[in-house]
Amino acid sequence: MTEYIVLSAILFTIGCVGVLTRRNAIVVFMCVELMLNACNLAFVAFARQHGNLDGQITAFFVMVVAAAEVVIGLAIIMTIFRTRRSASVDDASLLKY
């Protein structure tokens, strides 16, 4: 059981580091999705450990929420790409200090 939790922690950390280091908004967003999927793995593993279904049901809800987030996120990244011809998070720097 511990192996799955450790794996989910590793995936979560990879996602987290990806968000902080990658430059392309789409890749940053993919890393966020990786974090959510790491959460799903942890939920399912814990559900198995505790022998109840709460964690598995949560995983379904998280998938739905992640799908909704993709819709909103890609829409925002699309509009900003169309105006700037770039999806780099470094270019979006008009607002500062």
Partner: protein, 530 residues
């Protein structure tokens, strides 16, 4: 494995939630089927009608709620224990709905910018292209903002009432997703607005990832997502303590991000500046109210027995938020960014209340509980912020709103009324006596003091002095500095914005002079269902 039990849905108690959600869905249908010419009227009427109906529902439910399970709290657990309709929930619902009604009025304002609203004519049209020129010439506007706002209001009501981690996560997302979109829909300064939406979205999604992983670890600790079951597991000291500690930390990251506490405040100034001002007004007030409701419910109900591990963390974050918010606000040259950093400082003050004494049975006579103090502070803060941003939308020049502070010089001569009202809101945020801010600060400081958090209170008083300086500086610019060039011009608002500002100012004054009734209302809200 337990048998599946069909949950009973308490339609009467959930009436306010269901109305807001129904109106949001209906708004989508209106958008699809009604011709463009009548959509504005239909959407505004639908949104206002729905919010008022929900507010009436909140009052009716509040009069009807019974004591829960012979405990200190009043209310019911609805939908199989996932939504707690208790006193604090109802107070927050009422407050969010009142702020949302004012928000709809600001959204609907079309008088300030020559007959169009503050939202983009067509968000899909790239700025500076023929498509955009055509959409401006056709006087188009996005009326989708009203259903989006209704979904956000629904999220703001679900989030603080959620009684398990899954419902809380869903509430958090329903509240956030529409706000990401709304931030990017400004008519003028589209690039800033889109950038704000991108930053808000990426950072918001990042922080909800932390929230979710924290929820997973807490589930691993307790074997249940239900707050009462988590509390039970904490009390009985079963399960892995490190899961509990790390889970609590990660959950706090997600929640503290939403309220903009230091060190998770980076998005606040950018989003507040870039978003259309009506959205900023609604979001600044509503999100903070909802998120603090959720913070209190999570920390008091689920993790109340584990107080000694999270209180020191909140001490540090409260002090940091107050000082960093106030100090950075002083250096700002843009009025919306200044108000954003001031909201970070206010987050610190409200957190001071959160670390106070919780349960009414621990209180001496005459003391107030921290739930009461925080709820009251949220009411004072919400209306002052909403009013202040509404005033910001009035001060304009040829290119739209003038938000640079030095361009506000001479506003006191140009329009004494607008300058006076804005000065009044700033004094309320500074916590000057006879304004609501003073009573709110007094309430949160006294509950923190009663809980023995005197170092935080001393820091809070010092930070209040720093913050007072920055508000007075803006007042000085408005009244005593010579105007630059032509000086600012003040657009005459329609009755919508004027009403919002007047109501905000009236509530700020009344809560400062006669705080009794609202303090009693917050006291009547009582405690969370545990």
């Amino acid at each position: 494995m337990t048998e599946f039990v069909k949950p009973s849905i308490e339609y009467f108690e959930l009436w306010p939630l269901l109305v807001v959600f129904g109106v949001a869905c209906l708004g989508v249908v209106v958008e699809a089927f009604l011709p463009r010419s009548v959509r504005y009227t239909a959407q505004v009427a639908l949104a206002l009608g729905g919010l008022v109906l929900a507010l009436v529902g909140v009052v009716l439910v509040a009069q009807d709620v019974q004591t829960y399970d012979d405990g200190a709290a009043r209310g019911v657990l609805a939908v199989g224990g996932t939504i707690a309709v208790d006193g604090p929930s109802l107070f927050i619902w009422g407050l969010v709905l009142a702020l949302a009604i004012a928000g709809v009025l600001l959204f609907a304002e079309r008088h300030l910018d020559g007959g169009v609203s503050a939202f983009a004519g067509q968000a899909a049209a790239v700025p500076g292209t023929d498509a955009e020129t055509a959409s401006i010439a056709a006087n188009r506007e996005h009326t989708e903002v009203y259903p989006l706002m209704m979904f956000a209001v629904f999220g703001m009501m679900l989030f603080p009432a959620a009684n398990d981690l899954l419902t809380m996560f869903v509430g958090l997302e329903i509240l956030s997703l529409p706000l990401y979109l709304l931030s990017g829909l400004a008519r003028r300064r589209r690039l800033l607005s889109q950038e704000a939406a991108l930053k808000y979205f990426l950072l918001g999604a990042f922080s909800s990832g932390f929230f979710l992983y924290g929820a997973a670890l807490l589930y691993g600790f307790a074997g249940s997502l239900d707050f009462a079951a988590i509390n039970e597991a904490v009390r009985n000291d079963v399960g892995n303590q490190s899961l509990l500690l790390i889970g609590t930390g990660l959950l706090s990251v997600g929640l503290l991000f939403k309220v903009g506490a230091v060190p998770f405040q980076a998005w606040t100034p950018d989003v507040y500046q870039g978003a259309p001002t009506p959205v900023t007004a609604f979001m600044a007030a509503g999100t903070k109210v909802a998120a603090f409701g959720a913070i209190m419910r999570l920390f008091y109900v689920a993790l109340g027995a584990d107080r000694w591990s999270w209180q020191p963390m909140l001490w540090i974050i409260a002090v940091l938020s107050m000082f960093v918010g106030a100090a950075l606000a002083i250096t700002q040259t843009d009025i919306k960014r200044l108000l954003a950093y001031s909201s970070v400082a206010h987050t610190g003050f409200i957190l001071t209340g959160v670390i106070g004494l919780q349960a009414s049975d621990q209180l001496a006579v005459g003391e107030i509980s921290s739930v009461q103090a925080v709820l009251f502070y949220l009411a004072t803060y919400g209306f002052a912020t909403l009013g202040a941003f509404a005033v910001v939308s009035l001060v304009r020049d040829g290119g739209g709103e003038t938000t640079a502070i030095d361009r506000w010089a001479g506003l006191g001569k140009e329009s004494p009324v607008v300058a006076a009202v804005f000065a009044f809101f700033l004094l309320a945020m500074a916590g000057i006596p006879l304004t609501s801010g003073f009573v709110g600060k007094l309430a949160v400081f006294s509950v923190a003091l009663a809980a023995g958090a005197w170092p935080v209170v001393v820091a809070a008083v010092l930070a209040s002095i720093v913050a007072a300086f920055l508000y007075v500086r803006v007042i000085k610019v408005m009244y005593f500095d010579a105007p630059v060039g032509d000086g600012p011009s003040v657009a005459y608002p329609s009755v919508l914005t004027a009403t919002t500002i007047a109501v905000g100012a009236a509530i700020t004054l009344v809560l400062g002079v006669l705080p009794g009734p609202v303090l009693d209302l917050a006291a009547a809200a009582g405690e969370f269902i545990r």
